[in-house]
Amino acid sequence: MRTLKFLLRKEFKQIFRNKALLPMLFVVPIMQLLILPLAADYEVKNINITIVDQDHSAYSQKLISKIMASGYFRLASYATGFNDAFDDVENDRSDLILEIPQGFERNLIRENEQQLYMAVNAINGVKANLGGTYLNRIIADYNADVRLEWVQMSKFNRLPTIEIVSSNWFNPTMNYRFYMVPGILALLVTMIGAYMCALNIVKEKEKGTIEQINVTPIKKYQFILGKLIPFWVIGIVVFTMGLFGIGWLVYGIAPIGSLLLLYAYLSVYLIAVLGLGLLISTYAETQQQAMSIAFFFMMIFILMSGLFTSIDGMPEWAYIMTKFSPITYFIEVMRMIVLKGSAFSDIKSHFLIMVGFAVSLNGWAIYNYKKTS
């Protein structure tokens, strides 16, 4: 115990003396939490659209104004023909082309049928996809309007229509920040844990101070605890700052579920992530190596975590891979507890899996950490 006290005192002194590390630990996460949720928004607005209106009729005007009134589109230009419009797409001025053919109004009234042509610039997949979907819906809506107008005019029986009304549970206004902030917070805590812990130990290797430690009677577990505890504490402090300081005060996200449960899960999660950092440090000889290895894992973990892309939409093999990333579970649990108010019984399996991660990663790291070569 006494040895551990000396180790911890030394570690905290070094951390708080490191002028480069302190801002990394406390200021950077706050900045990221303030900026990222605003930027990482799935809603696509400002889709540039080029309209080729060859009909110039009242009906075509009505359709165009309906599209522009939706708020999702920005008119890039009116083109006289498809080739002109395609120039816009080629020069990245436009994402979508809508061509209204000649005789639009006439055909609609006379033939009861008219085709529109839509071309999507699929370079930016998300924008193209959503833009196309939005436009389809607007046109469908327009279609219904037109039909309704005629139905009333001719006093026929009204056609039965099915209207879908959806309500968004746990995030009624579909505010993406509610969804992103807990996820990003989980990510930040992970990076701090894994990176800082790995770099810290490897720095001792680089400087040669670890040799001096290895000739002392310090036990392996004492040294490891001396390294894990400070970053565990820092992880919890940063998380608390992010959750209350930013999540609550700035974004107004008050955790619905039990804070005790959330912190209990965080504690286990941090042990697992620190274990990963420790493991990396046992393999890396220099800080550069540690950085590269940590970066590799972080990239995979982040992209597979379900934060930016939906896990359910991944192919089977990728779906299985996400099960090996601890971040996936923490992000899920964060969202469940903070937004949905889930109880322990709901996240029991998440808890057990995380304990598994913590035990195996740390076990592996401790096994691999050698005082002698």
């Binding site: 006290k5 400087k207 040669g208 040799e211 001096q212 430690i213 000739v215 002392t216 009677p217 036990k219």
Partner: protein, 245 residues
């Protein structure tokens, strides 16, 4: 005479390369044992095995009466080690370093206080106590490093090229510290490249290509090779070396 280090055919292999080949020698209590050899002769490897930093491939050894394989942790309580590379914490102050290393060797608070005061007094570093170790000149760092290595009063202290890169005056002061340590009953095991320092040792071993080629007092070695200085002894022995950096 008490034997504090005893090795028998101690060997370390790295793949095909034999860094230390069947090293056998004894070191007695209270002596200054000089461990000499050219660069790459295997001195550091041998020393790392004796300190428990490296596991031997074969052979046996006891340090302070403890078996090198089975009682490595006991050995660590009884030795001090000063590595070639400066290895105190540069971002801790002089006092904090002393307290930290003293603390992890299990010194009590009272001992820590007394010891650190005494140490700072001896080194004349009163005004530097609150300074970061990283800001001290190399000579001071080395002296501090040595003092910290013997803070817990070990039976043996291992010094790996302790005076590399320091000026002659500081080297002289450093050896004064070594003599003081010997007077208090600590056995000193030291590697060096300075032949004047070799003359200060009670006995000397010469390592060439991973083997011990000579072991005796400096006077007897000079006599044996019919030369007048340790420099020449070193040259005579190291000339045949096949390994170099």
């Amino acid at each position: 005479m008490d034997t504090v280090i005893h090795t028998n055919k101690l060997t370390k292999r790295f793949g095909d390369f034999i860094a230390a080949n069947e090293i056998t020698f004894d070191v007695y209590r209270g002596e200054i044992f000089g461990f000499l050899g050219a660069n790459g002769a295997g001195k550091t490897t041998a020393m790392r095995m004796l300190c428990g930093l490296s596991t031997p491939s074969s052979g046996t050894a006891t340090i302070a009466g403890f078996d090198i394989y089975k009682q490595a942790e006991e050995i660590k309580k009884n030795i001090g080690y000063m590595s070639q590379k400066f290895s105190l914490y540069e971002d801790l102050t002089v006092l904090e370093n002393i307290r930290f290393f003293g603390g992890i060797y299990g010194l009590s608070d009272r001992q820590l206080k007394e010891k650190s005061e005494q140490l700072i007094e001896t080194l004349g570093m009163k005004s530097e106590v609150k300074k970061m170790v990283g800001s001290l000149p190399l000579g001071w760092k080395q002296k501090l490093s040595f003092s910290v290595a013997i803070l817990h009063e070990p039976k043996i202290v291992f010094l790996d090229e302790p005076t590399g890169g320091v000026d002659p005056v500081t080297r002289r002061q450093f050896w004064d510290l070594i003599y003081e340590a010997v007077d208090s009953g600590i056995t000193v095991f030291v590697t060096t490249h300075y032949m004047d320092e070799a003359e200060y040792c009670n006995r000397i071993s010469m390592m060439v290509d991973g083997e011990i080629k000579a072991l005796d007092t400096p006077a007897k070695l000079k006599q044996q090779y019919s030369v007048t200085s340790m420099d020449e002894v070193f040259y005579e022995l190291a000339r045949g070396a096949k390994r170099s950096e």
